[in-house]
């Protein structure tokens, strides 16, 4: 076959991510590549760090973007904080809680699972009971916004409980950051990771992470080396640190970082408060339309993510056929169900730049057509 340059169509991305990327971010992405130690690039990284700190609502300088997708950000938190033999409580209410368990296992840690049903938030009382039963637990890990189900857990309460029992927390904010309130310092979160391609509306491939004081202290006092050289945050920080000379660790993904800088600048210019409000408003618009079409939400209202709407596939409708119809006729992508919800649910994202009137309009109109087929 003769290969040609790839020219993708303009899709409307309303799945669980990647999401629509605003033109300003794509423009930033394709600016000329400069060296990863160029003084101008280093200055851009300082700005990027301050934008990340604003977005995470933290004052910690141990804040950066891992040069790889959210899964690597997750792994960065676990390999740096978990030492072999340590007990970690993982709250599991979807795919990404299960992935956390995998991470603990591969770090040689011992996992205590706190299970909640798919589509529901983590139950704080269950976490507290597990902490009482396992007083030697070192770390509590949970997913703030489960991308596989659309459920939002109460991060503030879960972190407060973990602190009460002297534990560090690892929190997945891949789908929550920039979509709903996240207060890293205010809620006493210790190690937090996210992804560039959800509510931040940047291209996929980067994972913002931040470590608070207690987490940094734990990293400094490790007895064993971090099992990943690439994700060893003590080494990475010698490149991301603003103090003195930056030490080469690996070649930064220069252009992707331009894009993240621009995406976070958009968040800062809009303000976080307005960003959260916009997601809420568009969720209400979409919800009204979906309910009119007869859709049923999986997650109860009080635990529902505005930016990720999980609904049951109406009886008699073919999952793949409908999604193909939307893609072929409207360039509209919605998400399939994942794990326990495969074939049973659709995940409709309203993330970042995607959370706007035009997208809700196309989605409701196209879904109505699809259901009539």
């Amino acid at each position: 076959m003769e290969i040609q340059s790839f020219n993708p169509p303009r899709r409307i991305l309303m799945g669980p991510g990647p999401t629509d990327v605003p033109p300003r971010v794509l423009a930033a992405l394709s600016r000329p590549t400069i060296g990863h130690l160029d003084p101008l690039f280093v200055k851009m990284m300082d700005e990027l760090k301050s934008l990340l700190k604003y977005t995470f609502q933290t004052s910690s300088d141990y804040t950066m973007a891992v040069s790889a997708p959210g899964s690597a950000g997750m792994e960065a938190c676990f390999v740096n904080l978990v030492e072999p033999g340590e007990k970690v409580i993982v709250c599991r209410n979807g795919v990404f809680g299960e992935r956390m368990r995998e991470n603990v296992m591969r770090c040689g840690g011992e996992t205590i699972i706190v299970d909640d049903p798919w589509g529901r938030a983590v139950t704080p009382e269950k976490l507290e009971a597990a902490l009482k039963a396992h007083p030697d637990t070192k770390i509590v890990a949970f997913v703030h916004a489960e991308t596989s189900t659309g459920a939002l857990s109460d991060a503030k309460t879960l972190c407060a409980i973990a602190k009460k029992y002297g534990c560090l927390t690892i929190v997945d904010t891949v789908t929550s950051l920039g979509g709903v309130e996240v207060q890293v310092d205010g809620w006493q979160m210790d190690a937090v990771y996210s992804g560039s391609q959800k509510c931040l509306s940047c291209v996929p491939g980067l994972s913002p992470v931040t470590f608070g004081k207690a987490a940094v202290e734990k990293i400094k006092q490790r007895k064993s080396p971090v099992q990943s050289w690439f994700l060893d945050q003590s080494l990475v920080m010698s490149y991301w640190s603003g103090e003195g000379k930056r030490a080469y660790h690996h070649t930064a993904p220069v252009n992707a970082l331009y894009a993240l800088h621009e995406a976070l600048l958009l968040v800062q210019q809009e303000t976080l408060e307005h960003v959260w409000l916009r997601h809420k408003t568009q969720h209400l618009n979409l919800r009204a339309g979906l309910e009119e079409l007869g859709f049923e939400f999986i997650v109860p209202e009080s635990e529902r993510l505005p930016q990720l709407n999980t609904v049951y596939i109406p009886e008699g409708k073919d999952d793949v056929a409908v999604r193909s119809f939307l893609l072929q006729n409207y360039n509209l992508e919605i998400g399939a169900g994942l794990g326990a919800f495969a074939g049973k649910a659709w995940r409709i994202g309203l993330m970042g730049y995607g959370a706007r009137n035009e997208n809700v309009a196309v989605c409701l109109h196209a879904l109505a057509k699809a259901l009539k087929n």
Copy 2:
């Protein structure tokens, strides 16, 4: 401080990477983001795989791009192939051989070091002696083109020796791929990684990797789980495999993969043979000019990388001052010395799109001016 959109100047990148990115690749990078499971994206990935196979000169379908920089590609090879307690010979003649040793250590392997001086190729006889002394060695690892020194080792001979002693090979081709001949199948290489931002002239952030039959067999027969979930190639391959349905592993860096597709298409259109010849020709052009200016090469001619020219800093010249002069007056970046060569050498890259007349001309003219200062 009020943060503005970042508008970098157009630099001329003649360091050890990142290198100049051609306009076609930057244009591909900023095309509209589509879903990582979109049928059109999956087709693009199939093409990308076939372009990677051509570039590596391999028929192995276990070929893909790791969604992270070259250091993660290195780690992907080590964590998948090395099991705790196994003996690994690492040939070390620069920074990246040392990084390999770090990787073996963090995998729980036992390292036997074969040292060669910085700035020289790996000595095949030393490798053979180490294999004789350690007949229980499982893996031989070496760097084909040492980015820290500009030395090229004889990969064909080193792999043949490793095979003779029943070992698998892990080969770093970060700086060699697309600059000098690399024959993955022809030279019996087992696990090979590279980087997007050197002679392939793509943006930084991706690491092409390939695993041959024997390596895949070893991965399948592992007793212990791969310590990295993100880099577990058995899982990653369920997404990159062309057979049947693609399983979600992590969100692919969609736009970066567009760029790699375009960069490799340029290589295919030019042909590898011409690409190698162009690097050689431009090296000769640059060498003639540098020698005229009185520069002395660190690496002997027969072991020298055409795409990375390491020269001693002339006596009495200030490393940082000269490099700043070049950057400020000509937007020209050349590389500083690394490790043992810090402050003593410059590394002048002629990689990929950077290996052309215009760049050699600017570099020689600007260096002449800088030395007269």
